[in-house]
Structure formats: C-alpha cells, structure tokens
C-alpha cells in the first residue's frame, strides 16, 4: 500500500506492506536510524517517537497508522545546529552511556516538559517509566530532563523580562 507520513515536518510517500511497523519504516525506509528497537513486546521504549506531541512506541504502531499525524523523531529535536535543551541536558548531566535508550528517553522528556514545564523528580520518573535503560540507573536521566526544565524556565524568564 502507498502511504504518506509526515516526519519531522516533511511528508514522505512510500509503498509499504500493510504489516510494516512505524519503527521499521523510520529506520529502513527513511533511514532515520536514531529511533531504535530493543524488544518484541512493547516493553523497552527505545523506539519512542512523538506523534502529535505524544510519546508512542513506534514498534506498536503500523506505518500506515501514522498517516495524518505529525511524527517527530530524535533527528527532529535539534533546531539546525542548536540542540534542544533536553539534548543539552543529557550531555550536561551524563544522562546517557551507550546511547541506545537515549533518543526515546529524550523524546519522552520533551513531551513531558511541553505539558509540565517544571516536573518534580517523581513526575520525571513516572514519565519515563515505560522505557528501560540498562546503563545509567536512571538518576542522571532524571537530572538531565530537570536540567532542561530549569534552563527552559530561565530562558522564558529572560524572554519575559526583555519583553
């Protein structure tokens, strides 16, 4: 079947099998390999992308189901050379080691901050609790997302005072 999927602001049209998963569509057809996969049971969350701003596990979505939605992957997080604060937070707080869970974690962090600009530690833990990280023991991921929250709010205050 022929589908058109919007990813990171661009429409992509491809011929796919009906059973084609979004994660494979992103990785194999669009060569956006920043979205990973790590399980067969929708447990690991390394495949998380944003669909209309909400985190979804792209291994649990058919590529065809992404039609009519806006999908955002890790490749769409930075604005050109400017990293998203969540990406910067992961660097600052050593929120990643092997990097395999990182794209999904960052996207969930991004979605959380978009609806809750100042999450508590517990709220961050809850937000990433559908995702696994085998390397970091999570504390620095929590700190990374909160680093981003703090820097975004500092940015907003500054923008406010300038206005």
């Amino acid at each position: 079947m022929r589908i058109t999927v919007n990813v990171n602001g661009e429409d992509h049209t491809r011929e796919v099998e009906a059973r084609h998963l979004l994660v494979r569509f992103l990785r194999d057809d669009l060569e956006l390999t920043g979205t990973h996969w790590g399980c067969d049971t929708s447990n690991c969350g390394t495949c998380v992308v944003l669909m209309d701003g909400e985190p979804v596990k792209s291994c649990t979505v058919l590529a065809a189901m992404a039609e009519g939605h806006e999908t955002r992957t890790v490749e769409g997080l930075a604005d050109g050379d400017r990293l998203d604060p969540v990406q910067q937070g992961f660097i600052e707080e050593h929120g990643l080691q092997c990097g395999f869970c990182t794209p999904g974690m960052m996207l969930s962090g991004r979605a959380l901050l978009d609806r809750n600009p100042d999450p508590s530690e517990d709220e961050v833990r809850e937000a990433i609790s559908g995702q696994l990280c085998r390397c970091t023991g999570y504390l620095n991921i929590v700190k990374a997302i909160r680093w981003a929250a703090a820097h975004e709010s500092a940015g907003r205050e500054e923008a406010g005072s300038q206005a």
Partner: protein
Amino acid sequence: MTTVEEPAGPAGPAAEERPIGFGRMKRKEDPRFVRGKGRYVDDVKLPGMLHGAVLRSPFAHARIVSIDTSAAEAHPKVKAVITGETLAGLGLAWMPTLSMDTQAVLATDKVRFQGQEVAFVVAEDHYAARDAIELIDVDYEPLDPVVDARRALDPAAPVIRDDLEGRTDNHIFDWEAGDRAATEEVFSRADVVVEQTMLYPRVHPAPLETCGAVASMDPVDGKLTLWTTTQAPHAHRTLYAMVAGLPEHKIRVISPDIGGGFGNKVGIYPGYVCAVVGSIVTGKPVKWVEDRSENLMSTSFARDYHMNGQIAATRDGRILGVRVKVLADHGAFNSTAQPTKYPAGFFHIFTGSYDIEAAHCEVTGVYTNKAPGGVAYACSFRVTEAVYLIERMVDCLAAELGADPADLRMRNLLQPEQFPYQNKTGWEYDSGDYPACLRKAMDLAGYEELRREQAEKRERGELMGIGLSFFTETVGAGPRKHMDILGLGMADGCELRVHPTGKAVVRLSVQTQGQGHETTFAQIVAEELGIPPEDIDVVHGDTDQTPFGLGTYGSRSTPVSGAAAALVARKVRDKARIIAGAMLEVSPDDLEWTKGRWSVKGDPAMTRTIQEIALAAHGALELPEGVEGHLEATTVYNPPNLTYPFGAYICVVDVDPGTGAVKVRRFIAVDDCGTRINPMIIEGQVHGGLADGVGMALMEFIGFDEDGNCLSGSFMDYLLPTALEVPAWELGHTVTPSPHHPIGAKGIGESATVGSPPAVVNAVLDAIGVRHADMPLTPGRVWQAMRHGQVEAPQ
C-alpha cells in the same frame, strides 16, 4: 566539551574548568548520540544487503530426525537456506567455545536447549526471512531433558553431550582452591559454624541492543568485513580465522557503537557465523540481528551457581575460615568466557575483604539442557557470585551471633597495613583502606540513626531493613603468564601518534559499550602529554585500525588498556624530550617536564611545548643520531597483577507486610577505584551497576519449566528495573591508588553490579527477619519467606 552548542535557552552551560587530563569533563561521544547519529550494527545498510533469520529449536532436548527446507527454498524472496548439513560440508557445523569446548553452529544431531540454532534463512528482506523460517519442517524426536543442575550428575541422567567422544555423563570440570586441611583445622576449633545453601539464579545481561552482525565477503579480493556487536573485536577476528579457516589479514571486524554489552557481547554466537556463511554463499552482504526473545533465550546468560557456604568464627565474632561447595550450571555447551586456567573464573576471591585464617572451595561444573554461557553480566569473572556468597555468609553469622552486621564486618576487615595482602586462595590484593571506606558509607547513610529508626518502626509493625555489603573486586585480567583466552594472552596494545600540528590519535584494542572510552582515554593521554582531550581522537572497535588486544569485559579497559595508553604517552614524552633537547641545543638530561612542555631546568623561559616539538619532529630539524622523525609510539601492556577495587554499600528498604513488595528507599555506595580519571563517568558506571544489582536482587530471573522451556523469553517475563524501582543513588568515594598501575587506576565498570545484590538482599532479609531467601525477592517470594521463614530456590 567545547564542541557542543549552547542550549536554546539563554542560560548556557556554566563555564566550567576544562581539565587537561583527569577531571569531570563532558563526553566527547555524546553530541552524536543525542542527535540520533550513533551508528549501531543494525544501522549499517549496504548496497544489495540481504537479511538473515535463525530457526530455533522448540525443544530443550531432542534428536533431529529430518529437516525439510524445500518450502522455504521455494519462497520467492529467499536466497539461501543453510542447515547444519550445509555447514558440515564446509567443516563449520561446530565451532570452538571460549572455554575450549565445542558448540554447534547449526544443530546436526540433536538440539540441546530450547532456542538452539537449527537453520538459517537468507532473504531479500527481514520479513521474508522471518516468514521463510516458518516454512522449514523439522522432525524432532524429543528426549528427556536435564533441567535441574542438581540432577545432572545422577547416573540415570540423559547424556547431553554425546557428540563428545567417550562422554558418559554431564560432568564438565572439578576445580578447587585454598587449603582444605588448614580449613578443616580452623573449623574444628571454631566456637560457631554457620552453614547456608543459596542459589545465585540464572540472570541475563540483556543489553537494550540485541546481538547482531552484518557480514560482507568481497568475492573478488576475498576480504570479509564484519560489523558486529562485540566487546572483543580482535579476539573475534582471530577466532573467525581459526573457525572458518579464513586468513586473518583478510578479516576485518568492526564493532561500531554498541548498545550496551555487560558481558553479553563477549562470545561468538552462531548467528554471526551464519551471517558470514550467508554472505559467502550468496556473494552479498548479509545482516542478521536477533530479536529480544532470541537474545534472552539463547545468548550468554550469567550466574546459575548453586552454593553451599560454611563460615567458622569465634564466639566474639572473629571470622576464622570459610569453605564453599559450588555446583555450576554451564548449560548445554561450556562457552563461558574466562581465562583458560580458571574454569570457575575468579570465584576463589570468596574470602572477600576479611582477615581470615583459612579457606577452601570446590567447584563442579555440569552440562544441562539450557542455553550456554555462564560468565557474563558485569561479573568480573564470577566475583559477583563470590561476593554474594561471603556477604550473605557474614550476615548469616551476624544473625547467629546476634551481632550488628556493620560491627561484625568492621571487626574482621583487612587493615591498611596488611597490603599488599596475600589472601588464602592465592590472590595478592594490591592496596586498600577498608575500614575508612566502610566508616564513610556508614556516615553517609547515618547508620546509627537508621538503626534507631528501624527499631521504632518495628515497634509499630513496619518492616524496614538495612543491608550492608563490603566487596573486594579483582579486575584487569591479566598477567599473560597466568591468563589467556584460547591461548591468547590477556595483554593489550596501544598506539599513539601526534600529528605535526600537535593534535593526536590514540588507537586502542578495547571497545566501549557506553563506558565513555572516547573521553577517558583522551584524558589519560592528555594527563601524560598535556595535549587537551579535545585534540585527541580515540580510535577503537576496528581491527584494521587498532592494535591487537583482548577487549573490554571484566572491568579490564582502564586497568589494562588505560595503563597501555599512559605508557605509550610516556614513550612519546620521552622521545619529545630528545627532540626538545635538539631544538633548545641542550642535553635532554637538562630538561624537566611540566604538563605539556619540556623546559631547561632552572631556566623556564627556555621551553618547548609538545605542539612545537611535534612540528619540529616532522620538520627539517636535525635530529640526534639514532632518533627517527615523527612523534609516535606503540606499546603492549602486560599487567603485573590484577587490580582490586573495593567498596562499602548500604541499602535501606521498606517491605510491605501485606504484599511483600520491596521498596528500595535509599542506596549509599562508597567506591574506591584508585585514581579517578573522570568522576562523572565513574558515577555513571556506579549508578548503572547499582540498578543492575537491584534488578537481580528483586526482579531478574531466567526460569525454566520441567521440560526445559524457558519461561523468561521476553521483557514481559524477564523484568528489568525501571526508573520507578530504583532510588536516587547516594555516592561517595575514597581513593587508594593501585601501586602497580602506571596511573594508579583500578577500574570501576563492574564494582556496583558485583557489590550491590547482597546489600539489597541483606536489607530485605533484615526487614523481614529471615536468615536466607534466594533471589529474586519478588513480592510473592518475600511474602512466602515472611510466612514460612524460608522460600524454595526459584526454578
């Protein structure tokens, strides 16, 4: 790092001191990972690439009567179907394991564990390959399996390895260490002897990236390029040369970014070999990446040690001796990765951190109808099992004596003046101040206050537990005289080249799986040469570009390769001194080194920076007789001894009396890894290991039913901790440099995985007042232990 951008917000990262050498520094590898530009094996895509899938056995033990591949071969997208018979024709049906056993690549005679590799399909795409394995018809004749290791040596037990000539039982090895007679003697005069049987259950490293490979055999020049998930690219290359009879210079193993290893990616798996054969047969590149079930069911598991411990002490709490009997379940093929002379790894460090008079252990290894493996999952070659044994035994002794577990440990710890310390099973511990480390952990935890809180809670019927562990690790294998894998000595090479403009490239034999080598190794060279880490490129994970060495596992990167990096930098520094002497027209003996420059003693204005020297080394300068141009060096580091990191851990838990659910409320970890290179990375390593420990203690378990069906083949059944199960770790450290390591570093990668499980278990048992219960301490098992005072070993 200076190379990362400011965040979008106006408040950029605090201008932080950038170390030229050791210190907290952002990782050089992170900018690519946060952009999704990591390059993992499954990201490799080559023109014309085909896809492979493995057909696996549904039975734990069965004879293969016939395999019919005709329907699969007729699938329009299938390019090749490979069976054991195909491989046998090429002499590749069996491959050597890292423990000198053999393992079936694809089964020919029997299948010996559920999930064993039976056939391999190569097809145009991933889906077609998966579809086609379903079309293969295998006729099996089921046999009785051996599932429980304790039955493996029964005379009536079916013989699993009848492929081995003359084999009439499932016995692999017997091994002992220590002094049996001396141990019997101390036990005979002990006031108190405590005995405890315990199982360190089978668990799995489960890195989030599964194992896989892309094999590309160039039919014209006969060169095989293999992108593969390996922690030991050089050892793999040599093994492929040995297994497949390919000339070693025609094999290039590339281990690109690796999504976690933890020991899971040390061995060679049949799927890798099949991808290679698939590429040879089809003349096209072949990708094979296993799914999660395949990873959990067929690749290297860890632990599975049935242990019986006895500890002897005086009535006032002086530990006299320890003896242990172990039954080690190695699965269907003995493919544990460990130094050849150590079939039970370094288990004989079970004397732990205590000053005892005598010790003895006996280990028997057996085959069972379960997946092969054994040493994996950040265990430092069985130190995990050893630490668990002794730290549980000390708590059992404390319970028997009515002693406080912290007091009992403090009373028996080795004292700083006893180092270097010869333990009772033959290890020489290099350095340590154990009492200071334990005291620090107790202070950080507020130990005495916690005990008061616990007493109050008990009055109210609340179950709070405090658990300790004090561990001694032994890592950095190892001296080549004693340690080799398949005859390959465990020494590692390193090459350093300083370019004319003073930038440098250092090439390592070890391979990162997230440990941050691109940063720490640059820091080691920076510390020695004074070139900023940003100016040093770290090359690793490609056998065509790096010197030989045995790779990264058993916390050996910093102890072995880190030493090599420091020494190769010192060689370069020595050469720079001669060149600086020529530049300044003085004798090299008149020069002194301060970081980054050679200067004339007493005349600091007469100086040349390492960058100036590098340019001169490549320029027209007349060099002294016998000195070659350029500024580079190579080395191979053969460690004189292992290193001995240590630590004191305290875990605080609350147990729900109604459900048995355990909440880890606090975890305090004080580690001593000797000289600290990048504290940020060290802390990250500890955090990850602590989460592993909580996982093993409370959740992780690879179980089997009586037919040998694996019950933990997915992340729905094999539970890893999430952010909700682990606390905000509280870390501290002490620093006792290793006296024999060039920079005093001891390694940190596995300390926390080794040290944390007993702390968690001790805490839970302290909460519920039960002497012993085997991991995993799931709510159901804790609840049973509360009701019955014990709980059966998990199956």
